[in-house]
Amino acid sequence: MSRRASGLKAWLLQRLSAVYIALFAFYFLFAMLGGAAQSHEAWRAWLASPMPALAMILFFIALTTHAWVGIRDVLVDYARPLWLRLSLLSVVGVILLGSLSGAVMALLAAR
C-alpha cells in the first residue's frame, strides 16, 4: 500500500479527498443545522435515504484515504528505525480499515 500510494498518485489522492471532505463537511453541517440529528428517528431516516448514505460512505472512504497518505508522510519523516515505522504504519492501517469497515457496515445495517 505504501508503494501504491506514493509520489504523484498520493499527491493527487490527497487533494481529491481533501476537496470531497471539505464539501461534505459543509453538506453535513447544513444537514445538522436542519435537524438531521435531532432525534434517533430523524437521524436514522436521514442516513437511510440514498443520497446522505452514499455521501457518508464516500466521506469515510475519502477520510481514511486522506488520513493514510497524511499519517504515512508524518511517519516517514519522524519514525525511525524502519521496524518502528512499519509497525506504526501497520497499527494505523488497522485503525483506518477498522474504522472504515465499521462505519460502512453501520450505514448498511441502518438501511
Binding site: A18, A22, H40, W43
Partner: protein, 126 residues
C-alpha cells in the same frame, strides 16, 4: 545518526524564530494527527447512534461528557486550521499566492482563522 559535520550548531530554542509559514505548517501536521485520532471515535459514534433509540441517547450523552467536550473543542480548532491551511496549499498548487509576502499573509490568515474557530467552538461547547 553520527554528525561528522564541523559546522557550528545553533540550537538555542528560545532564540530560534520560525517563519510564520513554518508555524502554520507544523500546526497543519499536528491538527492532521489529532483528526486522525478522531476517526475511530467518529466511526464508533456513527455505529452507536444508528443501533437504536437507547444507543442514540448514549452517543448523545457521550458527546456531553467533559473530557469528550475538551477533545471536541480541540478537534474544532484542528479541523478549521487543517481546512484553511489545506485550502492555502491547494491555492498554491494553482499558482495563487506563491510569492513571499502573500504566502506570509495567507499563513497568518490560516492561523488566525483556526484561532477564531477555537474561540467560537469554546462559546458553542462550553
Amino acid at each position: 545518526m553520527k554528525n561528522n559535520n564541523k559546522r557550528p550548531v545553533f540550537l538555542d530554542l528560545t532564540r530560534i524564530h520560525q517563519p510564520v509559514m513554518a508555524v502554520m505548517s507544523i500546526a497543519h501536521r499536528i491538527a492532521g494527527v489529532l483528526l486522525f485520532l478522531a476517526i475511530p471515535f467518529a466511526a464508533y459514534l456513527l455505529d452507536l447512534s444508528l443501533r437504536g433509540a437507547e444507543s442514540f441517547a448514549e452517543a448523545r450523552a457521550l458527546l456531553d461528557h467533559g473530557a469528550v467536550k475538551l477533545f471536541l473543542w480541540l478537534l474544532i480548532w484542528a479541523f478549521a486550521h487543517h481546512f484553511f491551511a489545506g485550502l492555502r496549499y491547494l491555492l498554491i498548487d494553482l499558482d495563487m499566492g506563491v510569492d513571499l509576502a502573500t504566502g506570509r499573509r495567507t499563513a497568518m490568515a490560516a492561523l488566525g482563522a483556526g484561532a477564531v474557530a477555537f474561540l467560537l467552538g469554546g462559546v458553542l461547547l462550553l
